[in-house]
Symmetry: C2
Subunit: 238 residues, 2 copies
DNA sequence: CGATTTGTTGATCTTACTCAATAATCGTGG
DNA sequence: CCACGATTATTGAGTAAGATCAACAAATCG
């Protein structure tokens, strides 16, 4: 027993394990943090979690379901900024502003934990590991956002879709869910929007990836038939 | 005297003021932090600050000059990730990994402050304001990265260049430099790369913006003739 | 001063967008 | 459960924005 798997460490309250990264909080520390987290807040499909511009008080951890964040541009167009799956943390971009910069909406029935930022901030003064933990979470988000920048700025439509699916697969698998078979929680429009593509392009590429026997797609159900080829398509380094 | 201007607060050591955001550290706290910051490290043009994959120990604040960060993709292409001007902080994406994810290179003769992350992290346990400060800096980076994602994913070449120049203008002006006349520290190729465009497109748009009397460009010297129009071009909300 | 890098402009080509039509799926109420 | 309308997905045809290729000009550097 060297390092415990951070995702299988049990926890008393909702979503705490969701905040874990390797080498993180110990059980005692988790208990303390646990007590500050407000329990699961269930959201129906299409219900708002918060609206852009609203005062920021809490981060939210997804326990189940899925959430998208988006903003509305000058011309009234929706711009999808991110998708959040179980175990992921929403609202890290709002700490500086003290306002949410985007709106957040449930893509399906979802349950969430509300984590009052003041309290986490306060606690992280005494629990050094928690502070380290928060720094890492924020840093990770920055790294991932930068990776997405490159994806959107430099890659073809095919590479973007492939990388997107590959990324989803990894995120599900990190939470002990199937890496090969899953249900897309978002509609095609959202995927296209997120990746800077037209819906039609997205649809065509789904079709093409199926023809190449890389995927099997049935509506929102996706099965990755050839992980290796998908990865090649995405030109990911792994 | 309500709130002191965070950028004009004097400080003993290099670059500390560069880390400031509104409502930040007081003088005493700054002195403490100051003492942990390693003094200016001068870099010649094209000198590396760090290489991608190197162990992360320090953040760097730009005191003067300019730095770009970039990675090299599978095909050996450079991918520009960010530009850092005086007062900006490099390396926030490396905290989680404990390795730099990108390489950083001076675009011109630059001086930097090295800020050992361990020490800042340690100090931020006792100086609550410093912790808050760090959270904000990280959060701000996330917000800005997300804005860039939208810029690159959803906007035309013209909008991207306009927004880029507008953004540079704002960053210079925030540091008491001219918002209308400045020298681009990076070559066209870097701008194009950063914005997900071809150099030729970038060049053509610089020309177009000049024809429309929005800019005056002479090599790297830029003069913004019509801030308002530039902003319209960028379709920025302000 | 010549060599190399960087910047500009033109012509052509390609990827992905737009528009349009149709099909499938979802959601709601009977 | 089915029928209905509304939303979402797919496919095709034509177009446009921006990439690529190529040539040359200007700036930078040793």
């Amino acid at each position: 027993m060297s390092q415990p798997d951070p995702y299988t460490v049990s926890c008393n309250a909702c979503g705490l394990k969701d905040l874990c990264l390797p080498y993180s909080l110990n059980t005692e520390e988790m208990d303390i943090v646990d007590s500050t987290i407000k329990r699961a807040k269930p959201l129906q499909k299409n219900q708002m979690l918060f609206e852009s511009g609203a005062p920021f008080n809490s981060l939210f951890a997804v326990r189940s379901g899925a959430v998208k964040t988006y903003s509305i541009d000058g011309k009234g167009n929706e711009q999808v900024v991110g998708f959040y799956l179980p175990g992921e943390l929403i609202g890290l971009d709002a700490i500086e502003n003290k306002r949410y910069n985007n709106s957040a909406k449930a893509l399906e029935t979802s349950s969430l934990c509300e984590i009052p930022f003041d309290k986490i901030s306060e606690l992280s003064r005494t629990i050094g590991n928690l502070q380290t933990h928060m720094y890492r979470l924020l840093s990770k988000e920055i790294r991932e956002d930068q990776e997405l920048q490159l994806l959107i700025g430099k890659k073809t439509a095919e590479e973007r879709i492939s990388a997107f699916l590959f990324n989803l697969s990894q995120r599900y698998s990190a939470r002990q869910l199937s890496a090969t078979t899953f249900r897309l929680p978002m509609v095609r429009t959202d995927i296209a929007n997120y990746l800077g593509l037209a819906v039609e392009t997205t649809s065509r590429i789904f079709t093409r990836l199926q023809q190449q026997a890389i995927l099997k797609v049935d509506g929102k159900e996706v099965e990755i038939l050839d992980h290796h080829k998908l990865c090649q398509m995405a030109h990911c380094e792994t």
